[in-house]
Amino acid sequence: MIHYRPSKIYIDPIVQDSPITQNILKTFSDVPCEYTSEKPSLLSELDRYSDPLLEGKKHLWVTQNKGKLVKKCGASTSALQNLVCCNYFILDFSFNCHFECVYCFLQEYTNLPLMVVYANIEEMLSALQGLLDTLSSSNIRIGTGEMADSLALDEITGFSRHLIPFFASQKRAFLELKTKSDRIQNLLNSDPKGQTVVAWSLNPPSYIQKYDFKTASFEERLEAAKECEKAGYKIAFHLDPLIAEPTWKKDYEELVEQLFSRFNPVWVSLGALRFNANLRSIAQKRFPNTPLKAGEFISAPDGKKRYFRQFREEIYQTVYGTIAKYNRQTPTYLCMENGVVWQNSMGCVPSSEQALEKHIVSAVR
């Protein structure tokens, strides 16, 4: 895995005393730093670079998240009809990622290509508590890996040192740290008390080499998962995006075999590759020879490019069928799919988002 090191740091004075900011400054004491309450001026100059996204990521902006700190996953607002939602919540602690995954939707955010860390951790914890106070469910899952990798910068920011104890102190919600990194040192020094699940996004090793640049390798991810498991964390996997390479059947069967011979994951999600049409041209420029876009994609009603339905179902049936061979009890769910695909692939449709939420956490308890 390639470690992150910015060429310049911008600090919003309003968060200069935050422990997150102090961690960053301590780690990068030799990196030029500018205190500004405005958006970094660099944002208006990035067009001058051949790859503004790559250039933008060299700059780290530490500021406060002024928006909604905890929100429901995008699936709940998707334009896709009959989408099965799993009632997932997202804590926006950071934006952007220094990894370079060919299919990553973050590449579409060309108006803010900087690495952004939101350092108002106290407000985040208050927002989390506020949310928990309003929900009656005992199966709440809150993740940080939507707009950033949960752990890629954790050694720099130290977020997990605040989040894991917070979740360890209550019993109704689980923190999910979703990652493609192997940066777990902070985790090994905390006791999750069963309330934190560390989840790795995975693909067959050769796919990771081809499409997940700068990330931890397949083996590095699994070694990190093993360390976390030993330290008392629950482990989960996201086979997302499932990519239909010519040898996909064999590749995913081998992947599932590898995972289940070494772990007993508390949940597994499956999600076939999908992307906005805009990403196709962005990825074309950034990764000109990638065969990723050459699959049989159609324009789905939500505007996203997806493999056509029957093919998605075949992929899910194959992968889910292999998982069931190893452990039929592992809660497995589809990400961003509709009831038809659920029925044809998994043999059932969850009756409600609460029912699916309950099913997903059933192996954690």
């Binding site: 050459a294 339905r309 029957q310």
Partner: protein
């Protein structure tokens, strides 16, 4: 700057340093010069020994010479005007009479860089806005790529007024592959969107199948492009079908099977777009009870046939 009537024989016509035209349409200009002479004097620079170089007015001199004119009105620039200033004047003078096409802009950028040693940074910051372009590295690279295209593709792009997002699709092809697509451009009636689709799909097929574009296009070249029995529109239709089958083999075969089955059932059945939902749609029209009853009869018959089961399974 002084004004003179200059003998065209004293002008070094082979000196093209300041020329920026690509595919100039000289018809209107030639007609005008034939009727009224050269109304707007050309700009020349003294080249020593009583000879001159053209700074602005290549097309005017070319037309005048072709029409048998021996003299041309000219402004002679002072000796101290640098070559770069001359070039800037040449570019600016054109702004008053026409818009530069994409290749001309690319030529200007290249000449500034190669002939006048303007650095990339200065080009991006100063000269791209001067040409009405965004001051960005991506735009600079776009115009460099345009100049690297096969000249026939440059010509096609300018003549057909292709937008840059379509021209960019040519960049992915190697020189040999660029030559391979040329016969398609000349004989198939593409719109901008169908051209893009052709270029994108053929490139994606080559990536997926690890085959060269030239290899892939042999078949449609022989059976579509070189087929004298069909016109440009039909060629486009055949080419798109061939491409779709190749690019989306599973989906295409599903669609073909659907059509075959519905024909056997004699009902106006339609799948949802790309089969995305699991419903089969049917839209009927009838004018009286008899026609409705005929439909009902057909539906009853269809409901007993195995083709319907297969269709439902497929959906």
């Amino acid at each position: 700057m002084r004004f003179e009537d200059i003998s065209i024989s004293k002008i070094q016509l082979d000196h093209r340093l300041f020329e920026v035209s690509f595919l100039p349409d000289l018809t209107v200009l030639k007609n005008s010069i034939e009727k009224k002479g050269i109304l707007q004097p050309v700009h020349l620079k003294a080249a020593g020994e009583g000879r001159f170089q053209i700074v602005c007015g290549f097309r005017r001199i070319e037309c005048a010479q072709a029409l048998g004119f021996t003299q041309a009105p000219a402004f002679i620039l002072e000796d101290h005007v640098s070559l770069l200033e001359c070039f800037e004047r040449a570019v600016e003078e054109n702004f008053f009479s026409r818009k530069f096409n994409l290749v001309e802009k690319a030529v200007i950028i290249q000449k500034l860089e190669k002939e006048f040693q303007i650095s990339k940074e200065i080009l991006i910051q100063r000269y791209l806005p001067f040409l009405g372009l965004s001051s960005s590295e991506a735009v600079y690279q776009l115009y460099k790529n345009i100049l690297a295209l096969d000249p026939v593709l440059q010509d096609y792009s300018v003549r057909n007024g292709l937008p840059t997002h379509a021209i960019e699709e040519f960049f992915k092809f190697h020189a040999q592959d660029q030559k391979t697509v040329i016969p398609f451009l000349h004989s198939v009636h593409f719109s901008v969107s169908t051209l893009k689709e052709f270029l994108i799909w053929i490139y994606e097929i080559s990536l997926r199948d690890r085959a060269s574009v030239s290899e892939l296009l042999v078949d449609p070249l022989n059976h579509v492009v070189r087929n004298p029995a069909i016109d440009g529109r039909q060629k486009l239709q055949n080419l798109r079908q061939w491409l779709k089958n190749k690019r989306y083999p599973m989906l295409s075969s599903l669609e073909t099977r659907f059509v075959l089955l519905k024909q056997k059932l004699h009902l106006p059945l339609e799948s949802s777009e790309f089969f995305e939902d699991n419903k089969i749609h049917m839209k009927l029209s009838f004018q009286n009870k008899e026609e409705l009853e005929q439909w009902i009869e057909k539906m009853k018959e269809a409901s007993l046939r195995p083709e319907l089961d297969e269709l439902l399974k497929m959906a």
